[in-house]
Symmetry: C2
Subunit: 237 residues, 2 copies
DNA sequence: GCTCGTATGATTGTATACAATTATACGAGC
DNA sequence: GCTCGTATAATTGTATACAATCATACGAGC
């Protein structure tokens, strides 16, 4: 809820290690480093003006976050997300967002409900005006509200992880396509289901919302962002 | 599949850091360190005969695994799992194990199918004989087979994480109670559903299997293992 | 010309030294 | 007696030094 909510998360934004971690994660998510690119401890350290120690610790964390892969005595490599991974994540998220919406219906607070309503109204406004930047931010915030409202640290943590993980993809799709209005509609549906305490409906709609987001992403050229499958047996999407 | 399958996981079992990580995780899971106990870098290092550097790196990883919480400039504390956390995890696992069973139905290989059948037969044998040790191991293995068979690195990773996470609890329940036979029955059901390519049924049964496991755990005194909720608003179970 | 072994350089893994922060103890002031 | 401030000790955070491992280049031998 507040900034004081210390979950099992990278706890420290202000230590050197924390700054390296966050900056490196942003850089990877934003595409600064190509997939499978090797990250050298010393180079990163010099670039950020720190020694190898905090860099190494940040690496260990990024590895568990799934953003890089460390091969012992060799190096750290930016992880590649395959198309199938993206698909799997969305299918999993679909289930979990559904569960989250169900729980949120039961546990949402008055303040959270109000923020959610406000979020939907604002999003519709910015959609009309064509403010893509704000739209993307509101979209993120909508889901964060949902995650917090479900009143489950575990589920919240899982969903935020996934959310982070697919940011690389999502960033490009919501902004490019005209999914904004449709996405807003669906947010409104979920919001109203929660407001009227219909957990079943909220779950179904949140489920569907993820599937739709995924379908839209595929239609709008997931292929352009990610290369073909690494394994020849990969799903064709 | 093979030991060569390097996922986003603690990659190195043989470095000092890797050994510290695994040993520390085992110690926490086995209950050697009490909840909320403070772990001091130097003490751990001395006990394992290494310096602080690998200990610190292991700490960062354990934090992301959710086993400890690091408060900047203060220390590392063993994370407490509340009853509600356990419940949430089982509800989430129920959904994901269902999805896993569904996907496994579609992607399971001949070899995996055979190992799963063998697992069920063996488990029934050991259940009759009262071999609790082997039974627990076969139970773990059954789920691992399922995870591998679903052919999704992402889902497999998630489920294995959760599996690890609740090991503290599970270890005591399967061994104590007489759930062995019932659990085996349910495994057989899932196995046969997969064998007959009934994805819907497999999903439903796997769903149910987790719920049952949880219900059984609660009946057999989850309360004895974990203290009351930390937050007064916690679920009463 | 090709293969293999060795030497060199680069990079990661670990230990140690030092800096910064936090916790504790003690005593001055009221 | 209580509060607060300072000094000291303990612990974490970071930088650096050294060891081990891996990659590359070069040359001997065939």
């Amino acid at each position: 809820m507040s900034d004081f909510d210390v979950r099992q998360e990278v706890s420290d934004k202000y230590s050197l290690r924390g700054r390296v971690f966050h900056r490196l994660r942003d850089d990877i998510l934003s595409g600064k480093y190509a997939e499978h690119e090797e990250l050298k401890e010393m180079a990163i350290g010099e670039e950020m003006g720190v020694s190898r120690t905090p860099v190494r610790e940040a690496f260990r964390q990024l590895e568990l976050e799934g953003l890089i892969q460390i091969i012992p005595n060799k190096g750290a490599y930016v992880t590649g997300i395959t198309e199938k991974d993206v698909k799997d994540i969305y299918m999993i998220r679909s289930l979990l967002e559904g569960l989250c919406a169900r729980w949120a219906t039961e546990h949402i607070t008055k303040e959270q409900m109000e923020e959610m309503e406000e979020n939907v109204y604002l999003a519709e406004f910015h959609a009309k005006k064509g403010h893509l930047e704000q739209l993307a931010e509101l979209d993120n915030r909508f889901h964060d509200i949902l995650y917090e409202a479900c009143d489950s640290k575990i589920l919240e943590h899982q969903l935020k992880d996934f959310h982070q993980y697919v940011l690389r993809v999502r960033k490009k799709t919501l902004a490019n396509a005209n999914r904004g209005p449709k996405s807003n509609e669906e947010h409104r549906g979920i919001m109203e289901a929660i407001r009227s305490r219909d957990a079943e409906l909220a779950e179904r709609l949140a489920n569907r919302h993820m599937i739709n987001a995924y379908d839209n992403m595929v239609k709008n050229g997931l292929h352009e962002i990610y290369g073909r499958e690494e394994t020849p047996s990969g799903d064709s999407l």
